[in-house]
Amino acid sequence: MPDLLHNARVSRGQFLRMMGGLAAAGFVTACSTRPETTASTGGGQSTTELKFIGVADQKAPMDELVAAYQKVRPTVRLTTSYAPTDQVQTSIRTQLGAGNAPDLHVVFPGSGSAMSMSEIAGAGLLADLSGQAWTRTIPEGFKPAFQAGGKTYMYSAGSSVIGAVYNKKAFEKAGIEAPPTTWSEFLAVCDKLKKAGLVPIALGAQTPWVTQLITYALVPSTVYAKDPTFDDKQLAGQASFADSGWRQAMEMYLELQKRGFFNDKPNGTTFEQQTSMVATGKAGMAIQVSAVLPDFRKAASSPDDLSMFPVPGADDAASVWIPAGVVVGLGAGAKGKNVEEAKAFVDFLGKQENINAWAKAIAAIPLTQDASSTIDAAVQSFLPFTKDRAVPFMDQRWPNAEVQPVHFAVIQELLAGDATIDDALKKMDEAYKK
């Protein structure tokens, strides 16, 4: 064996040097791979790096607008990451909890979720955007989604609606001439589709958030058309799910199932399967939020096959109301190093042409409109409602993040026949009071 290494002390020295070397190597890796937060560019200006983390739906509009911002403000570089909602929520809450949030990140409108504007702003972690010009044009009815304590903390390009995404060819095949405008017409349409050998309504209730959409589509007519102040009463403890039109909405939901208007085994069917059923014409429609129209269109042979109509939740066409909620937005972290630059980007997004661009990418109704605003042809039929017969998505006014997941779970239990409407509403009321 080599005699040059026989001294234990020397070899321990070597060992320590080796470990030191390893640490140094780690350090070098750290330095070499660290993004330069401020690097000088040719003109002697410094570049600011901004981080954004968002949900996958935001990628299309953000890609477009980040590229546009690069041209307007070349000294700011935005790096972005996108992931499915659950993972983003976990990731951002961890970062917020540890006090190191990205400069810009996804924020859900209103209250009622762990990533909602009011929850995060309430913890003092969102920058106040109130000074920006676009915030002064937020329509009155949408303010609770953007504002807490009179200050604006979230940007969103507009609103989306919940209604029936339908396949025009399938409707033609079943001999349906016009979309229904009352509940009985709606049932008749489903009947025709069924007689034509199609699944009238595709329901992908295996995907939790899909479960809520039918209730959300009906509750505006069964609850808010009768009492527009229901939210305030419920918050004050004067109204409950059990003693309101929520019961009727759930009964209507189950009536659709009883009449065989859903695909077989909705609890085992995913959103993806639901989408392709409608896109390929196996099913006539799906009750969905307009923000996922692009998904339906991508899966269809021609995007023009698909359109939307409001779900009539009442037998009198005049008392049909619709759900129209502010779409998932973004906010600037209050504690970041580059808060001002982050806010400047939000201000840029608030310009009318950028609101238009974002809204267009996700088939939303732009927050504010000018001559160049376009509204997706598929949601045109909702516009007559948006003025005074529309209510935000229900969870946006719920006081805590527990009601919505309970809603998902009880709908699945109802569809499985494992619960009664009484049980379901009781559980929701209990969660509401937590």
């Binding site: 929520q89 917020l96 077989d264 085992g268 009880v410």
Partner: protein, 302 residues
Amino acid sequence: MTVLTAFRSRARATGRRVSADTPSWLFAAPALVVYALVVLYPAVSGMVYAFTDWSGIGEDRSFVGLANFGTLLGDEQAMGSIGNTILLTVAVVAVQNGVGLLLALGVNAKLKSRGLLRVIFFAPVVVSPVMVAFLWKYLFNPDPSAGLNGLLGLEVDWLGDPSVALWSIAGMVVWQYAGYSMVIFLAGLEGVPKELYEAAMIDGAGTWQRFRYVTWPLLAPAVTINLMLSTIGGLKLFDQVFAATNGGPGYATETLSTVLYKQAFVFGKFGYSTAIALVLALFVAAVSLVQVYYLRGREVTA
């Protein structure tokens, strides 16, 4: 610097002992430092949250003593999820190891295709659990003409029927990890001396008797490791459940891991979630200790 000097002088003082049978503890020091930094310190300081009402964000938090543990006892959903966790673990442990053992016995024989078969059975282990869940969700399509139903001519509502969903998840996990158990059993089988089989053959033992009295007792170490790893994996199982059903339909597949995840990140009750995590950790540790103690006791040496 002072620390380094201290290390050196200590090493010099014990210079003679070092070259004896035990290596210097400096061998373990770097690993211990990294482990303490990345695992022990964060876990210990994270435990503190179990005794607070922290939401997970912001500065607002106060000490609530053992209140979170009290809440847990009265939390129907969390208590229900313990039952699901145990059922899922028992199913996964039993089937995964049963299948793994059969596969190992099969590919341990002198087959021409044994090398390829081993690779095929182990391959799912290397793919991400989330991707596997994605694939299986497609296979679990309830449509009778697609996926597993189409292949087997069934009409099962794999993930949608509350009484089936948990077993579907178990099946998916078993498919992914049966190869893992197989490899450990194979390793055990390779350690069984050939002479013992020959001796048993001469004594007139049949296939079953050879397995029962020769192979099985000598597989004990492999059984210990397999049971321990699959039990820990089963009790902590999260990714697959979360990606496949998110705890649904209703609460039919909710496990302790999904409940504690939801409390922390969906409901904004980080303190309570940590209390559940702590209970889960103690439970897993207790179960594995008992297992190892019991199983090591029945091991024999070849």
